[in-house]
Amino acid sequence: MKCRKCGEPAVLELRRHNAAFCAPDFLEFFRNQVREAIRKHRMFTRDETVLVAVSGGKDSLALWDVLIDDGYRTTGLYLDLGIFEYSVESKAKCEKFAAARGVPLTVSAVRDEVGAPVPVIKDVTRRPPCSGCGLSKRYLMNKVALEQGMLVVATGHNLDDEAATLFGSVMHWRTDALPRQSPALASTHPKLVRRVKPLYRLSERETAAFAFLRKIDYIVEECPFAKGATSITHKEILSRMEDASPGAKHNFLFGFLDRARPAFERAEALVLNECARCGQVTTGTICAFCKLADQVKRRVVS
């Protein structure tokens, strides 16, 4: 198999693009996809500092690597979930990455903010572990960004993540979730920062290949709580479809973004309030994070 650009031996085939690339041309292809995402959705400018949420995994570290190399001003944010050895190792990967590149990394622990780490939250609530974890992450990303005066948070969500989320929303017709699925969510309240996903044009196999070729030391082991997660099942289904019909995931997600999402966006009219407890933004009186923290405190104390 030969590189589409230079004719040298290829290291990666991208069937959905009907192409294969050598390592240097793949790295350039990858960076160009990130640049296009940032440009198309006006995600951020070089005049602002981007808070990059990093987990120690391939996606977030690949994203941070691209942004640093492209000259963006960034700060990493690692949220310590307290998930045993997995969190210890993933935090070490982020610290090593930041130190090697001389970029700042902020660490915030879920234990300090919620009152307990994710494994305890999982036990004391009836939520699936990924639910409480995701809620805490979204809340803390916004909180840390506001505290540090940053107006935008970038996450490493890729094409597969976004297609799987869309698949899950459509399977249950969560029409309230559909307008919020976007590569770039604007700030709709002074206390809500922008959230952007510069990797949404790239599959997770592509981000893994980028991280490998860039010799990024990322955590390969999966979060112990992800086993059996619905999103994994959805990804497996979509990957089988992709195998049978290259481009299926891309067409599903991009078709939604280009043609279907605007219709759902018009239907949504949310009133945003400030949480009576913590002051962060919520659609109710008390935000979901404070309710979660209350539940944890009650159960842990009792």
């Binding site: 198999m1 944010l77 979204r138 969500h157 799987a164 196999r205 981000t207 195998d243």
Partner: protein, 69 residues
């Protein structure tokens, strides 16, 4: 030839001198879900792996409700 699999990490022996795509098919692994690594290199599905080689099939799928990935 030796194949290293992850999550959990384990090794299996399969017949070599075959293309990567044939090995993936035998192991019932969807090509889209793994990187195929031989030494310090990525290898494509059409490449032949020799009997004495070791390849790693590194999963690329991450999941759960992670918001930072």
């Amino acid at each position: 030839m030796k194949v290293i699999l992850r999550n959990p990490r384990r090794e299996v022996d399969v017949a070599g001198n075959r293309r990567v795509k044939e090995i993936l098919r035998e192991l019932d692994i969807i090509p889209e879900t793994v990187l195929v690594i031989c030494g310090d290199d990525l290898v494509t599905a059409d490449q032949v792996v020799r009997e004495g080689d070791t390849i790693e099939l590194r999963p690329v799928m991450s999941g759960g409700g992670a918001s930072s990935r």
